[in-house]
Amino acid sequence: MHELSIVASLFEILEAKAKENQATKIVVVRLKVGKLAGVVPEFLETAFDSYKQDTIAAESRLEIEEVPLKMRCRKCAAKIEKEEFILVCPSCGSTDLEILEGMELLLDKIDLEI
């Protein structure tokens, strides 16, 4: 349950971006959360809603896009997409896999009122 401290870090970025752009309000906050980011989207929403009170994002909406795990085999170049996290290529059995997506915890976009 470290979602609240993630939200605290998120608000540091949000407040800086709002200031840089002289925004009066943040309307929408869009995140990309990888399946393996170790974060529960529902907890993130709850933490966001309680944290946003009295901030520039008080009336904002949080949109979370969950990103599935995508890997590429460095040996046979197979593209792998699966729910379960096993670092073994289903085509050639190699364990030399590159994780392309699914680990991220990104602030993707925000809609500002200026």
């Binding site: 540091e12 995140l31 991220e104 500002l112």
Partner: protein
């Protein structure tokens, strides 16, 4: 008044990663190898550290940071071994963050060769926070069960080494060491695995050697860089 869509694409924990990279840079330059120990509560992090301290201290001065929600108990246990130790009490937070470690850097003695950081007992949250470590070790004790790697994948995929603890209890438990090891290697084939018992002294020397070799590699790598 107008609306504007701003593309940010920033890592939310980017500021933690930045502080962690600074810590790693500073300590590497000072010849200190940093080890972050992760596990659930009660899996034996402090007891393992006590044994490691006894083994390493005669040849390699070391320091320890203890993370807990409350109390100085763990740092006191390490201090009794004659090693500098600092307690970070998070007051409820389930993990350590890089800036908490960063604050302690000025206090680390110049002769230090290893800094061990014992994270808050939790197999979920600490996995998301880089503390500036060179090695991340995840501990799994026999009584916890052999099914943990796939239940807590992030801790195991982000680790460099897996340390089985309390191996002296394995004969009395339905704990399949081979199965647990295989499950962890499925998740992360690059894991180095150690089987230890702090009580019987099993595996402690091998683990200490791994840390010493990792430090030598770190220093050689720096010279070539």
């Amino acid at each position: 008044m107008s609306n504007k869509e701003l593309i940010v694409r920033e890592e939310i924990l980017g500021s933690n990663k930045k502080v962690a990279a600074e810590i790693r840079g500073k300590l590497e330059a000072a010849g200190v190898l940093v080890v972050n120990l992760l596990s659930s509560p009660g899996s034996g992090k402090t007891t393992l550290l006590e044994r490691l301290v006894e083994t390493l201290k005669p040849t390699h001065p070391l320091a320890v940071i203890e993370g807990d929600i409350e109390t100085e108990r763990d740092a006191d246990r390490i201090r009794r071994k004659g090693v500098p130790a600092w307690q970070i009490t998070t007051g409820g937070a389930c993990h350590l963050e890089a800036k908490m470690v960063g604050k302690l850097l000025p206090e680390i003695p110049a002769e230090t060769k290893f800094l061990f950081i014992e994270n808050v007992g939790n197999l979920v949250c600490p996995a998301g926070y880089d503390l500036g470590e060179n090695l991340r070790c995840v501990l799994l004790s026999a009584p916890e069960g052999d099914d943990k790697p796939k239940k807590y994948p992030k801790a195991f995929t982000s680790a460099d080494c897996l340390i089985f603890t309390k191996s002296d209890l394995i004969p009395y438990l339905p704990f399949d060491l081979e199965k647990a090891g295989k499950e962890a290697l499925d998740l992360n084939p690059r894991l180095r695995i150690f089987v230890t018992s702090a009580l019987k002294g099993r595996g402690i020397a091998e683990l200490a050697r791994y840390f010493i070799e990792s430090r030598v590699n770190m220093i050689q790598h720096q010279r070539h860089a």
